[in-house]
């Protein structure tokens, strides 16, 4: 896209350090009206800091910010807001028990004769929703009643209600299910049509290529590369981000000699979410489960792990029939489960790396001997956790390191069957590769792995076999390296020839 118009926002030579540590070292960035500019880089590359500089949260040590034609110096978020810059945070910031309109105008409620002008607030919210073409959302509905995708729309409306012309989105799809991502695409297109300049921060390659017109890559706080999207390939992009070519994106698959006996077996297993599920996972094997959100792929995991157990059918571990009635029973039978909700279900965020890593062992094993933790350092090293020691609270770790702690927690009890649900959600490219390698190594050591992921390239790259779920049942099985089209065909119900 060739624009002759001057950029809406121009950042030049931005430097920012904390306590003497340089985090940004001379970053340049231009945002144009109606253009999606993707910002990429590994965790710690300085993306969030740059976003915060733009939002007025941090004041740069040097460098200039130009909005329109005026040089600006933001010293507080509301100044950036006044200049038309709004940020959509990675995590939602909506109050569940308040209505859409109340959330949109929170802190800026219109007042008339001493009380909140609710009529105006609702009308203005409705106007904004209409403007975006989102008339399906009722401004008077409490946020609890909205889907995740609708909540994202409300977040965006909230940002736009400040008359923003620049929207910075930090990992906007992190909380969205796959079909909801499509809705976001649509929304971004409409924002572009309405001449909003968008800064799009994401780890997901595909989104960046689908949505952006221009990509800027940061590494270690420094500007690496900026180019129109069509001039880049994903391989180049990864190289810019990592600084080295990532050879062979995924580890080698299992060979026939790696595979052992069947460890997890389901026969005609059913509960209220899934029906007639039969599957086998052998020692050394990674079996992928694909499917749209709500197709029952996570329900299988949660059933095997006993959160919502199967109500009929047979489940066997190492050939022995089991009735698992809760997670505790599952753990004792050697089943481990890495949840998709890392912060909510996977970790005690305010506890240390050590306590988190030992959580399952302390909780589920009997006897002091089993619970000892002499091997903890080794365990953490094996999953390559980077932290300021075992006593650091996990909430201060990056997403990738948090996920490694979750893995350590399960490895501490040497599981036979490992179920991973979205194992690399929201973690950067380098950490992703580490997690992939860890999973493959575990498989090599005889663990049977069931892997769920909505990122198809990952699922296809990792799995030795792929089961595709559709509406609560297994729609079909595909061999290693199946095409995305084949998976999507089964997942959407088109591939079933009847």
């Amino acid at each position: 896209m060739t624009t002759t118009l001057p950029p809406v926002v121009r950042l030049e030579g931005i430097h920012k350090g904390f306590l003497g540590n340089p985090v940004l070292r001379g970053v340049d960035l231009d945002l144009h009206a109606g253009e999606v500019h993707a910002l990429m880089g590994e965790n710690g590359a300085g993306k969030s800091t740059l976003l915060k500089v733009l939002a007025g949260v941090h004041k740069p040590d040097s460098g200039t910010i130009t909005v329109g034609a005026r040089a600006m110096s933001f010293s507080a978020p509301h100044e950036a807001q006044a200049a038309g810059i709004a940020i959509i945070h990675q995590e939602f910031t909506l109050l569940e028990h308040r209505t859409v309109a109340e959330n949109v105008y929170l802190g800026r409620e219109p007042v008339r004769r001493g009380q909140v002008d609710r009529r105006k607030m609702v009308a203005d919210t409705r106007d904004l929703l209409d403007w975006l073409g989102e008339d399906g959302i009722d401004p008077n509905a409490p946020v609890t009643r909205l889907s995740v995708a609708q909540r994202q729309v409300v977040e965006i409306v909230k940002a736009l209600s400040t008359d923003a012309t620049v929207l910075a989105m930090d990992e906007p799809t992190a909380a969205l299910a796959d079909h909801e991502v499509e809705l976001l695409y649509d929304l971004v297109a409409r924002l572009r049509e309405r001449k909003i300049a968008i800064l799009y921060v994401s780890h997901r390659m595909r989104e960046v290529f689908d949505l952006s017109q221009r990509i800027t890559v940061l590494k270690d706080g420094a500007f690496v590369h900026c180019a129109p999207t069509e001039e880049l390939t994903s391989d180049q992009l990864v190289r810019y981000m990592v600084g080295r070519p990532l050879d062979g994106l995924y580890p080698d698959r299992a060979t026939e000699s790696d595979l052992g006996a069947v460890r997890l077996s389901l026969r005609n297993a059913e509960n209220s979410r899934v029906r007639d599920v039969s599957l086998d996972v052998r020692a050394g094997e990674i079996v992928g489960i694909a499917g749209l959100q709500g197709s029952g792929r996570s329900a299988i995991a949660r059933a095997v792990w006993g959160v919502q157990p199967f109500t009929s059918g047979v489940m066997e571990i190492d050939g022995v029939p089991q009735r698992i009635r809760g997670p505790r029973a599952a753990v004792r039978k050697g089943i481990a489960f890495v949840t998709e909700d890392r912060k909510g279900e996977g970790l005690a965020l305010h506890q240390s790396v050590r306590d988190n890593a030992l959580l399952v062992r302390r909780a589920a094993l009997r006897g002091a001997k089993a619970r000892r933790h002499t091997d903890l350092a080794e365990l953490l090293k094996s999953v390559t956790v980077v932290s300021r020691g075992q006593h650091q609270e996990v909430r201060y770790l990056s997403g990738g390191n948090q996920q490694k702690v979750v893995l350590a927690k399960w490895l501490a009890v040497a599981p036979k069957v490992l179920i991973v649900d979205e194992p690399t959600r929201g973690i950067d490219v380098g950490a992703k590769q580490t997690v992939h390698q860890l999973l493959r190594e575990l498989a090599k050591n005889g663990v049977a792995i069931l892997m769920i992921s909505s990122e198809l390239p990952e699922l296809i790259g990792m799995s030795d076999r792929i089961l595709v779920m559709h509406e609560g049942a297994v729609a079909g099985e595909l061999p290693a390296g199946a095409s995305e089209e084949a998976v999507m065909g089964l997942a959407t119900g088109h591939g079933v020839s009847e």
């Binding site: 910031t93 109050l95 308040r98 109340e102 609710r118 399906g136 509905a141 009643r145 995305e484």
Partner: protein
């Protein structure tokens, strides 16, 4: 395998808005429960040959509701804001003393005395709020600490009732219109004002926001500290009014008039019974008044039935636990829906 591929635009399938129904909210539940209690209570009392809702019975329920209602309305504000106030019981005693001693039997001092008592209450509320927001003390501990300070002052300076109110002031405590005490109307007026404040003003909106998720509120530009302080001041003033009213009924101030009736925990119980979340962000004055009426009706009923006091407390405890369990269950089922 190419990661980049053309995306076929998918038609927007945001589900049509479910006509969102208010349904059976905790507020509705609490009034249904109140109604059921009145029906069952009337039957039980009539089996013993009495009448629950005769003039005396209604008067009894309303009188009991007045003081607790005032305190609980104030408590609703702090609880919705995500805080709570344990100092109200001692504050009630203190305010009754301030009012009665300042009046000292003189009619001319009535207005200044009431204002002084409410002023003292406001200062205590301000201290509560500042300890929580500036010193970042947990609300439970902060207000417990203030309660202990008030207790220390009361124990050191008073051994029993002190001061006296003029006859004219006792009208506040005893006058009524038909079966309805004037003070109850006053309480309803205060509750209505509190409802308006919480549901219609910006500060009220911000109370719900701060209680709902303080970080989100802050990110949206809400002055969270100020909101918490205002909630605490209003709560304390409501407790101060309760103290003034009790002085009017007793004819003098009494240091332990608030603690003897356990208005601190009782008011929190009423608020929770009324459907508020102790964590904040949910609840309201209307529900709270329902909770207050239920507790007052239970008490009246127990008196009419001459139930033994131990059993009385057991039943109150069970009612409270059942209510909270019911709300928690509804919350869960809504989340999984």
């Amino acid at each position: 395998m190419s990661i980049v591929e053309a995306k076929v635009p998918v038609k927007r399938n945001i589900p049509a808005p479910r006509a969102w129904k208010t349904g059976i909210t905790p507020t509705v539940t609490v009034y249904l429960a109140l109604f059921a209690l009145l029906v069952v209570g009337s039957i039980l009392v009539s089996m013993k040959g009495g009448v629950l809702l005769d003039q005396g019975g209604i008067l009894n329920i309303l009188t009991r509701s007045t003081v607790l209602g005032l305190v609980a309305v104030g408590q609703t504000m702090v609880i919705v804001t995500g805080s709570l106030d344990l100092s109200v019981a001692y504050l009630i005693g203190l305010c009754s003393l301030v009012a009665a001693e300042t009046m000292d039997g003189q009619e001319s001092m009535m207005a200044p005395a009431v204002l002084l008592a409410l002023g003292v209450a406001a200062v205590v509320g301000l201290v509560n709020g500042l300890v929580i927001t500036v010193l970042k003390a947990n609300a439970f501990i902060a207000t417990l600490g203030v309660a202990l300070i008030l207790r220390g002052y009361l124990e050191d300076n008073y051994t029993g009732p002190a001061g006296s109110v003029p006859r004219a002031f006792q009208h506040l405590g005893f006058d009524r219109m038909g079966p309805v005490p004037v003070a109850s109307l006053l309480m309803v007026g205060i509750a209505a004002a509190a409802w308006w404040f919480m549901r219609r003003t910006r500060t009220g909106y911000h109370m719900y926001a701060v209680g709902g998720e303080i970080d989100f509120a802050r990110l949206s530009g809400v002055r969270t500290g100020r909101t918490i302080v205002i909630a605490h001041i209003l709560c304390a003033v409501a407790a101060g009014l309760a103290g003034v009213f009790l002085a009017s009924r007793l004819g003098s101030g009494a240091p332990y008039v608030g603690t003897d009736a356990g208005y601190d925990l009782e008011s929190i119980a009423a608020v929770v019974l009324g459907g508020a979340a102790l964590a904040g962000g949910r609840g309201g004055v209307v529900g709270t008044i329902g909770g207050v009426l239920i507790l007052a009706t239970l008490d009246t009923l127990f008196d009419d039935l001459a139930v033994d006091p131990f059993f009385k407390d057991v039943v109150r405890g069970i009612v409270l636990i059942l209510a909270v369990a019911l709300y928690a269950r509804r919350q869960l089922s809504r989340r999984s829906a």
